[in-house]
């Protein structure tokens, strides 16, 4: 083991760890709840910078051969995950001041970073679990309404089921191949051994469950609604991205063939259609975003149908765009007297007259999620469907596009509420908080850059 490699390659993770330790020490030392906001913000920002630096240098190394490796293709997604957490942190302060929130968030983030670099099922499992476990607590932590308990429990039980499935799959794969390396998964895809195929199917099922793909999606709406705004934002962007990056890590550039095509085409397609259709009927904003995220998970899994080499580009670009635009909506969301009222979609009525900037920003986010150009969501969707079509799945591409059309209505409905409806008499008139404004700006700059110069990011992928 090369200590220098361990230190450099895992620098982002080390910084996060240092942040967590510091937060815990400070809390123990002071003996009371402390505001962990600044330490956490600094740690995440520093880790993001470290990941960017690793990417810019083109650093590649494997401090733990066979388990953990770093290269430009892992540093960039890692940097994106860390950067996406910054706006989440900025809007967290009103809901969570105590440092345990930030410790939990940082450890979840640590897990997400770990899994993007994992080479073996051991690290992958560690990463996924470390990413998910703190979130079960985070959902409950705000305890804004009684439903939060139910949400956290549902999330915990189904998350546990996913964990068990993943473990079972990994052990079957180990049994078939005698190796813990994730390469065993891609080998199993083309294998005719029942043990290996069974293992691969279980692993895929776990990944679909974690990403809330129909029919494994039922936990998402409850968990999203029951959590608080920052935690939902975190789940919808960073956790979802983490799961997809884990899937990307597993599939690598292996072409999908055989019955797996059916799984990776039909289930995402149903997710798109079902997510988009069900979102139309929601009255809770976060629930609506949950269904929207089910549909988006469908688009993302569609990317695996495409040819191997283009997959990384399509998925990472989509995740960055989707994350930025989703966060843009969350950070600009107006505050209200209580969570239930803030979450109700009626709270957005007439928003343009109260907070024009927030309304325009949320509208841009919604239209981007709907995939309407010139917003960046369009380029992201275009890339995925181009790859699917280029791989020869013309019918699936057309069906997917039609399914994505179903989503336009409910995104437009949000815009309609903000711009065309009379104001709710109970609406709270208030100026957005300073931190939320900074967070908005932090998302707005990449959103504008990605709208006009998507090529800038694509060149780097």
């Amino acid at each position: 083991m090369n200590w220098h490699d361990v230190l450099t390659a895992m620098l982002p993770e080390h910084i996060l760890l240092a942040g967590m330790v510091l937060l815990l020490c400070l809390e123990i030392a002071s003996g009371k709840d402390r505001d962990g906001f600044f330490v956490a913000l600094l740690a995440v920002a520093a880790a993001a910078v470290a990941a960017c630096a690793l990417f810019a240098q083109g650093y590649a190394g494997s401090p733990f051969p066979g388990h953990f490796s770093v290269g430009p293709m892992t540093s960039l997604p890692k940097a994106a995950l860390l950067a996406l957490t910054l706006p989440v942190l900025l809007i967290s302060r009103d809901d969570f001041a105590e440092s345990r929130y930030y410790v939990l968030l940082l450890s979840s983030l640590y897990g997400a970073c770990l899994l993007t670099s994992s080479d073996s099922f051991l690290t992958l499992f560690l990463g996924i679990e470390l990413m998910s476990l703190p979130v079960y607590v985070l959902v409950l932590l705000a305890f804004l309404r009684p439903e939060s308990t139910e949400a956290a429990l549902k999330y915990l039980v189904l998350g546990g089921a996913a964990t068990a499935t993943l473990l079972m799959g990994a052990s079957l794969l180990y049994g078939a191949s005698g190796s813990l390396g994730i390469i065993a998964f891609t080998d199993a895809l083309s294998s005719s051994q029942p043990l290996a195929t069974g293992g691969a199917v279980l692993v895929v099922a776990a990944l679909l469950l974690k990403a809330a793909i129909v029919p494994f999606h039922a936990w998402a709406p409850d968990a999203y609604e029951g959590a608080s705004v920052p935690v939902t934002a975190y789940m919808a962007t960073v956790i979802k991205a983490g799961v997809l990056l884990a899937a990307l890590r597993l599939f690598g550039t292996t072409e999908i063939a055989g019955p797996m095509v059916g799984v990776l085409a039909v289930l995402p397609l149903v997710s798109m259609a079902w997510g988009n259709l069900t979102a139309m009927r929601q009255t809770s904003f976060r629930r609506m975003i949950a269904y929207s995220s089910i549909a988006h998970a469908g688009y993302l899994y569609y990317a695996f149908l495409g040819a191997g080499p283009g997959r990384y580009e399509a998925i990472v670009f989509y995740l960055v765009v989707y994350g930025v635009m989703n966060l843009l909506a969350f950070v600009a969301l107006p505050r209200s007297v209580d969570d239930a009222r803030q979450d109700h979609i009626d709270a957005l009525k007439g928003l343009f007259h109260r907070q024009p900037v927030a309304a325009v920003v949320i509208a841009a986010a919604m239209l981007s999620l709907a995939g309407i150009p010139p917003l960046p969501g369009f380029a992201a969707k275009f890339l995925i469907f181009r790859n699917v079509l280029a791989a020869g799945y013309t019918a699936y591409a057309v069906l997917g596009l039609v399914a994505s059309y179903l989503g336009i209505y409910f995104y437009l409905r949000v815009v309609q509420y903000m711009f065309m409806s009379a104001e709710e008499p109970t609406a709270v008139r208030g100026r957005p908080r300073r931190l939320a404004l900074i967070a908005t700006l932090l998302c707005l700059v990449p959103a504008i850059l990605l709208s006009f110069f998507p090529g800038w990011l694509l060149d780097r992928l």
Partner: protein, 513 residues
Amino acid sequence: MADSTLLNLVLWLPVLGIGAITLLPRGRDSLVRGLSLAVMLAQLALTAILYLHFDPSVSGLQFATSQPWIREWGIEYRIGLDGINVLLVALTAFLGPLVVAGAFSAIQKDVKLFYAMVFFIQFAMLGTFLAQDLFLFYVFWEAMLIPMFLIIGIWGGERRIYATLKFVLYTAFGSILMLAAVIYLVYSLHQRTGIASFAFADLYGSGLPLQTQMWLLAAFGLSFAIKVPIVPLHTWLPDAHVEAPTAGSVILAGVLLKMGTYGFMKLGFPLFPDATRAFTPVLMTLAVISIVYGACLALVQNDIKKIIAYSSISHLGYVMLGLVSLDLVGIQGAIIQMVSHGLVAGGLFLMVGMIYERCHTRDLAAYGGLAKLLPVFSVFFTVLTLASIGLPTTSGFTGEFMALLGAFNAAWPLHEAGYNLPLALAVIAVSGVVLGALYMLRLAQQLLFGKARAPHQPFADLDTRERAILVAIVVAVFAIGLYPEEPLRKTELAAREYQQIVMGAQVDQESLP
């Protein structure tokens, strides 16, 4: 290249306009209006310079810019003027200041947002006409939805939400299938030649098999046909027109509807020439149905805006007829008819808006004898009515006459060869002219003559601003009607090239049905 800078400036000026009015302080509505008008006038002036310097004897793009945009996918920011889009760009720039000025009194709510959206749609429309890269074209094409959604939805009439959602969902459905076709088309080009390019010039003459061409043309065509709109895909139009504010109706009728016919002319037909010829009887039939059915519907409406909305369906049917005739006269007639309809229908919608601001109803039965109450209004209304009917010396005559002539030119040889459908369709299309006279004269007669009555009297006749707007339109209508050589000269070469691409591409006749 100073030339390309000028064209870029014309395109991006509305974006500067958005930036400028966003920075203005809240509550300074008159300043916003003035600034918007100034920007639009500047754009018109620059476009006029471009128009005058446009050389009709040069084939291909002029004032072109070509910059890599998304290098990896072969997407370029590629814009330029050619004979097909030059008149439509001029029309868009011409209607811009009129739309802005026409909304001075009508729009009192969220003024800043309104003018920002007018600039946004102006930008998107100009971009759609100027784009010479399929990806760029699609971006502009879809981007038009956003401002139109807001313009109808915020400043529209009572059923505005229904109308605007219908408009967006209708048009977005067409676009989503077009997107699939765009991806497929570019991918197949890449497959065959190894070129990853979205440039129109690279995509023309694709030489795809007929079967594939038919599917792709159907996907592109659906999107364009919804926008035109061609019967039976027209049902969004009356709702959108009736509920939209005046400015929205003028933009819709004036420019937006031309997107569909322009799309057919620039993309649909030249990209898939074999399929176009195979589909010609279908397209021609649909065009004639649009002409007659639109006119019949216009005949029985009692809402003034609906009459003009349905008349638009009928008038754009002539454009389609001219385009699919593949006869040089017909093609040029189609282009003139696009411009003419933009001016006439735009002007009529502006006039309906003026009367609506005074009387607050669009019900035809509420009016009568306005010739006595509003003499100036009535003069302008009569002129535009006659232009809509297609009276000689007005632009409407030039466009319709040439489109019909083209249809007959194309049909006659076929008739002599024993194939009578085109001739029959052309004859039926002529009846649209008669029906056009019927519904427009019915409208004018009810509105202007008879016993003088109108709700909310007394009211003033047109003021200077309104007169200036209408004078501009009437002058343009007569200019095209009396001197059609000028615009025809600008478009002739491009029309010829279009004709050659669609007719002359290599085909084995056996593959045609």
